[in-house]
Amino acid sequence: MSPSRRTLLASLGAAALGSTLPRRARAATPSQRRFLFLTCFGGWDPTRVIVPAFGDEAVDLEPDAEPLTVGASRFVDHPDRPGTRSTLDRWGHRLALVHGFIVPSVAHMACLQLLRTGATSGRPDWPAILGSASTGGEPLPHLVISGPSYPDALSPFVARTGSGGQLEALIDGSIVGRTGRTPPVVPGSVRDLEDALVAARRLGAAQRAASPGHRALLDGHLSAEARVQALQAAGAGLRWSSSGSFQDDAMLAVELLAAGICRCASVAHPGLWDSHSDNDVYQSLLWEETMIALGAVLDAMHGTEGPAGGSLLDETVVVLLSEMGRTPLLNSTEGKDHWPYTSALLVGAGVAEGASAGAYDPGLLGARVDPASGLPDEDGEVLTTLDLGATLLTLGDVDPAEWAPTGAPLQSLLA
């Protein structure tokens, strides 16, 4: 058995066993940090909550919006969003914000890929990279509960739960029952024999492999099979499906992160944020739902023990994103159109509380900033998705030089 295979199986086995051993409380190191990506697809209007553009006459704010200061940060408060207010009151002091980074496209899908990978094609996304770099032996390093995923060459590290509980049905075998057939009943002893014979045959197949490509694919099966075994060992008793609401998807992600199933989890808001008309109406509803869910997630993480022994929130970076912003001014149908400058929200392990990086110039143009300080600097550059990506990778102890070579980690956000 090659060393790499032995190491993999050992680490996966340890992860499976580790879930049953009592833990000592210990802080997560960067390489142990987990990530929860929450994406709002369609282009949010950050001036509803996280960009208090009061005083900027080139920006149409909502009637009755008021500035809100929590800790060192400023937000937007509105009487129609009490849930948002509640979340900000509880967690606003810990939220870190990135402002004014540019997503250089106006097409949704291109922007989404730029946001999550730093490029329009040919690169895996940040959670896939972080997942692939995990040393925690999670069976499903990046688990996509809903929304986009760009695994590229890292697809072995990425899994989906499926919107209809497909993963759960695969794990427990009930998938066949959905066809109306009775799932075959295989005694454990027989299954053990089958597993052993399949494993032995795989070794033989690798020997016979016609080319390095064949051999690599067969080796890939070994790794994947090991993940399945670890998954089946660790996944017993876990919930795998949600109601499909944003909050429930996010809570499911919390549970699976806590159980050590994944290093990264991705969830997308099911609504379309693309408010070309009636911006005030749609964005208010969507933000309220999202911020309520964020508050519930942070509450749950705070009260949940993480795999490393601390609170899950102290082991996890929560990232709230959208692929684009919206124009500062309303259009002729009371909507706002696509805008290439947007913001992101980070909170959790390794994220400096109440920090910010980047800024907006009047009219919601991304300001030139110094990436280290995050402060406006005329000699600086407008932040990009690669800077955001570099920051996330740094938080996860992944060298950004390989995956986001032109991105600079935003030091002001790093605790």
């Binding site: 072995p156 899994a159 993963l167 998938i175 066809t179 089958e194 492999a209 490509g213 805008w339 143009l365």
Partner: protein, 515 residues
């Protein structure tokens, strides 16, 4: 008798032995299997395997026969489905809105309509340009009821037949198919630019959205009029819009918005061909060449060398399951020339590709669609829920978990094992094996699965099964291990269960999906 443990020792000992010299890329059985799966969606029959094992020259006539097999049409549909991305699990307007009952079937038919045009052009050896110039489309039984078409023939064996739209659509093949435009929407603001880009991506391999936009900070992006002017005056915008907008201007006849009802979506709208005047404001043209409407667009694309290049690229990448690189340039050029010499017949292009070293040397994973057709052919089993094949659907199916794209966020098919692909294979293997042995035993087994067999008969039956399922003869050690396994399981659970178990092992074998 060698025990199961000894058999396992035998195999594990083999793992430590010096590796056998790798079989040459031209391993005829492997080549036969690859051709059979790519061109027919099924593994070779036992007779075909035995013929090629006896004489490698038998591969040539079999290859030729595969290209004549009607199942090739399904592979054309499935392959180009990955590029066109028109097939989805649900349509914007359900079948019930049109008085139809088969929702999954309707959704699939709508998405497949343009692909069925491609398949027909391929199977009839028509020039590939017909896909954008044909004066016909293809419909199945459901589409025939609701699309505004006149039927031109009786249905073929696949249930599809040629038809002609009667609502003023020009002869532009897939460009005027409802299936294409039900998939790609537009809006007043977008003014068909997104649609134009999809055409460019699909037919010319040029995706405008891959280019990063250099936003001019002096431009007030919130000023609609300023933006509209910048599309043509500002170099950062005009670089794309100078060609994209005139393309979009050609699409007025298929303009409907995502707010439109189903009636709007059914018909072509020739009265809207001039709508560019109030939308893009830019006269239609094709990369600077005159064109008025969709009919002209089809002719311009057909005359564009990039269209031919793109067809070669897409076909090669489908069959090789990897992107083409600079190193492929010479081969790509040769395939292109062969495509031209053949009269632009897709079958000739695919034949040129599958005869290449690049094709023979490649290693790839089965797509979920191929897994489905292969399993059904071997065992008779399909993973169907309410008429939908779970290996071909994403929303409530397993296709994406098994590596397929979903046409929205995940495009392209994964070429690596994932945990979920292993789970899918394992569950399908169990269910398919159970079905094959207990429901359709004569399909795969030459023996009665409930009968007790003597040692030689058992080995012979297992050998035949191994050949059929994995397209190669079992090595002696494998045969021994499988026979021992059969015996052990039979002892525990009976003979029928033993056959289920042996077949499960073979269907769980990663070799099944690697070819």
């Amino acid at each position: 008798m060698v025990t199961h443990v000894t058999a396992a020792l035998l195999l594990s000992a083999c793992a430590g032995a010096p590796p056998e010299p790798a079989t040459t890329p031209s391993d005829p059985l492997a080549a036969l299997t690859r051709l059979s799966l790519d061109l027919r969606g099924v593994r070779p029959s036992t007779a075909e395997l035995e013929a090629v094992a006896a004489d490698a020259q038998a591969l040539d006539p079999l290859r030729a026969a595969f290209f004549e097999d009607p199942r090739l049409a399904e592979q054309v549909v499935a392959g180009f489905a990955e590029v066109w991305n028109t097939v989805r699990d649900e349509t914007e307007h359900p079948a019930s809105a049109l008085g139809l009952e088969d929702e999954p079937g309707f959704a699939r038919a709508v998405g497949e309509e343009p692909l069925r045009i491609l398949a027909e052009v391929a199977m009839q050896d028509l020039p590939w340009t017909e896909i954008v110039t044909a004066d016909w489309t293809r419909v199945d039984a459901q589409l025939a009821l609701v699309w505004p078409v006149e039927l031109l023939e009786e249905p073929a064996a696949d249930g599809w037949r040629r038809a002609r739209y009667t609502d003023g659509r020009p002869a532009a093949g897939a460009l005027v198919s409802n299936g294409l435009w039900w998939r790609y929407e537009t809006s007043e603001n977008n003014a068909s630019r997104g649609r134009a880009n999809q055409l460019s991506r699909i037919l010319l391999c040029r995706d405008f959205t891959l280019d990063l936009v250099a936003f001019d900070r002096s431009l007030d992006l919130s000023d609609e009029e300023a933006v509209r002017a910048a599309l043509h005056d500002n170099p950062g915008c005009a670089g794309c819009h100078s060609t994209l907008d005139p393309l979009a201007s050609l699409l007025g006849g298929v303009y409907v918005t995502r707010k439109s009802g189903v009636e709007e979506l059914l018909r072509y709208h020739p009265e809207r061909e001039g709508i560019w005047r109030t939308q893009t404001g830019v006269p239609p043209s094709y990369f600077g060449l005159p064109a008025e409407a969709l009919g002209d667009l089809g002719q311009r694309i057909a005359a564009d060398p990039n269209f031919i290049d793109c067809a070669v690229q897409q076909s090669a990448e489908l069959l090789l399951r990897r992107p083409l690189t600079l190193e492929d340039t010479d081969k790509r050029t040769a395939w292109r020339e062969q495509f031209l010499d053949s009269g632009l017949t897709l079958r000739s292009l695919w034949e040129a590709i599958v005869r290449s070293e690049e094709y023979e040397e490649g290693a790839k994973l089965l797509t979920p669609a191929l897994l489905s057709s292969m399993i059904e052919d071997l065992t008779g089993f399909r993973l169907l829920v309410d008429g939908a094949d779970l290996l071909r659907t994403s929303t409530y199916g397993l296709a994406t978990l098994a590596g397929a794209g979903d046409g929205e966020f995940a495009t392209g098919v994964a070429q690596d094992w994932s945990a979920t692909l292993v789970l899918v294979q394992n569950r399908v293997a169990e269910a398919a094996a159970d079905h094959a042995v207990r429901v359709e035993p004569s399909r795969l087994l030459a023996v009665d699965p409930t009968a007790e067999l003597d040692y030689d008969a058992l080995r012979e039956a297992i050998a035949a099964l191994h050949l059929r399922v994995l397209s190669r003869a079992a090595a002696e050690s494998e045969l021994e291990a499988l026979s021992t396994h059969h015996a052990e399981v039979a002892r525990l659970s009976g003979s029928e269960a033993a056959w289920v178990s042996v077949l499960t092992v073979l269907l769980r074998d990663p070799e099944l999906l690697v070819y």
